[in-house]
């Protein structure tokens, strides 16, 4: 009895988080339109607006099981394609001002895509025997595409750290929000594809975690888009005495 009550509670929580997410998506859409974000981030603006409309439509269709199923997965497929577009948009913004790096980064980016597609293919091949149902097959395909998406976002963060690049506020927020959601989604998809039943508490818990991750990403996007761009700090010149002390210490170290 207690188990069933928990299950009902979780379903209600998922419902609340779903509605909260739609409200946040509405606010994000207004912010993007108000800031004319399509000028700088056309793909991300399309991604956010499409996600909002799709989520709203799927919510209205959730009483019809069949329509909900097809509506959800079609919108999910389009969102994933747009998600790849967002990753490329961020990559271009990050590297376009560094001509010397753009070619090298572009080359590494392309090879990373090839490597990640191989990983994604192995995910599909290894897990396909479990996929006896259509839904499991879709889950595995979703998981494989999320592997590529997470990998590309990891590449962006790792490459920017290695090359010492500076992220602009909005770019960083978009990549961070997308990355957080996609990473949680990947872990969730992987666990779901291993489950044989689509009901029960574990499935509901994953739904709650997914909704929480999505809403957190929306808050991250809103936060970074609304916060003012940090000014580059003025270079603080150290005192000469400090430099001399440091020099002395290193000289002593190397001449020991």
């Amino acid at each position: 009895m207690a188990w069933k009550l928990t299950d009902v509670d979780l379903k209600q929580l998922v419902g609340i988080l779903w509605v909260a997410g739609m409200v946040l998506q509405g606010v994000l859409s207004l912010v993007l339109l108000g800031k004319k974000a399509w000028r700088h981030f056309p793909v991300f603006t399309s991604y956010a607006l499409f996600s909002f409309i799709a989520n709203l439509s799927v919510y209205l269709l959730h009483d019809s099981r069949k329509l909900y199923f097809y509506g959800f997965w079609i919108s999910e497929a389009i969102t994933i394609v747009l998600g790849f577009g967002v990753v490329y948009e961020i990559f271009f913004h990050l590297f376009s001002s560094h001509k010397a790096l753009l070619r090298l980064a572009g080359l590494i980016f392309r090879w990373t895509i090839v490597a990640l597609f191989c990983v994604a293919l192995s995910v599909v091949l290894v897990q396909s025997p479990v996929a006896s149902m259509l839904r499991n097959g879709v889950l595995i395909f979703d998981e494989a595409t999320r592997v590529v998406e997470v990998g590309l976002l990891m590449f962006l963060f790792a490459a920017s750290a290695a090359f010492g690049l500076h992220w602009k506020q909005a770019e960083f927020g978009i990549a961070l929000g997308l990355g957080m959601f996609v990473a949680v989604e990947l872990a969730g998809m992987t666990l779901r594809s291993q489950m044989h039943s689509h009901d029960g508490s574990p499935w509901q818990v994953l739904d709650v975690v997914r909704s929480l991750a999505f809403n957190t990403s929306l808050l991250v996007w809103l936060g970074y888009l609304l916060a003012p761009e940090r000014a580059t700090s003025n270079v603080v010149v150290p005192k000469r005495a400090q430099l001399e002390q440091w020099n002395q210490a290193v000289t002593e170290l190397i001449s020991r």
């Binding site: 001002s97 560094h98 001509k99 010397a100 790096l101 090298l104 192995s122 995910v123 290894v126 897990q127 998981e143 592997v147 997470v150 990998g151 976002l153 990891m154 963060f157 790792a158 920017s160 750290a161 290695a162 090359f163 010492g164 690049l165 500076h166 992220w167 960083f172 961070l176 990355g179 957080m180 996609v182 990473a183 949680v184 990947l186 872990a187 992987t190 666990l191 291993q194 940090r230 580059t232 700090s233 270079v235 603080v236 010149v237 150290p238 430099l243 440091w246 020099n247 290193v250 000289t251 170290l253 190397i254």
Partner: protein, 170 residues
């Protein structure tokens, strides 16, 4: 495979967290001085050869590793400074209305990028030498390039008239 994919997702979350922390740190980061004379002395192969001839193999290797650790700190500092110069150059290029200043900033950015790449290469070779001390892979190309970056910063400082102490500092 399930564990690998979940590990990948967890690694991604850790990487994003580190990126947020590093961005916060970057905001307050300033240029730190580099003693090029000491840096060059550390890279001197003659010194190294002399030590390896005079000392027992194990001791010379230990000493070489010690030198590498210090050299790595220098390289890391040069890399961090190049990154700061990169940000400064970008800000300068975006805010400047004079083509001369924008050109100087662009040149500085390109050089800083080149140095940053060379630092990555240098770190790789130093790590390889640390693992196998009998190897001889010197990042000797770095010092002249860094000197060149100093000159570029100096030129930009002269054009903007507000960054004059910068070249002296780095």
């Amino acid at each position: 495979m399930t564990m690998i994919v979940i590990a990948l997702a967890l690694c991604a979350v850790v990487l994003f967290y580190m990126a947020v922390r590093s961005r916060r740190k970057q905001a307050g980061q300033s240029l730190r001085p580099v003693n090029l004379k000491a840096f060059r002395a550390l890279m001197d192969r003659d010194d190294e050869l002399f030590l390896s001839r005079k000392l027992p193999r194990s001791k010379s290797f230990r000493l070489k590793r010690h030198r590498i650790r210090v050299t790595l700190r220098y390289v890391a500092r040069i890399a961090a400074n190049s990154s700061a110069v990169l940000r400064m150059g970008e800000a300068e290029r975006l805010s400047s209305s004079t083509p001369e200043v924008a050109d100087a900033a662009t040149q500085m950015i390109e050089l800083a990028t080149e140095i940053r790449l060379k630092c990555l290469l240098a770190m790789g070779t130093l790590v390889a030498e640390y693992a196998l001390p009998s190897l001889q892979l010197t990042p000797g190309v770095l010092a002249p390039k860094y000197q060149s970056l100093r000159d570029s910063v100096s030129r930009l400082g002269a054009l903007t008239q507000n960054r004059a102490p910068l070249a002296i500092t780095i």
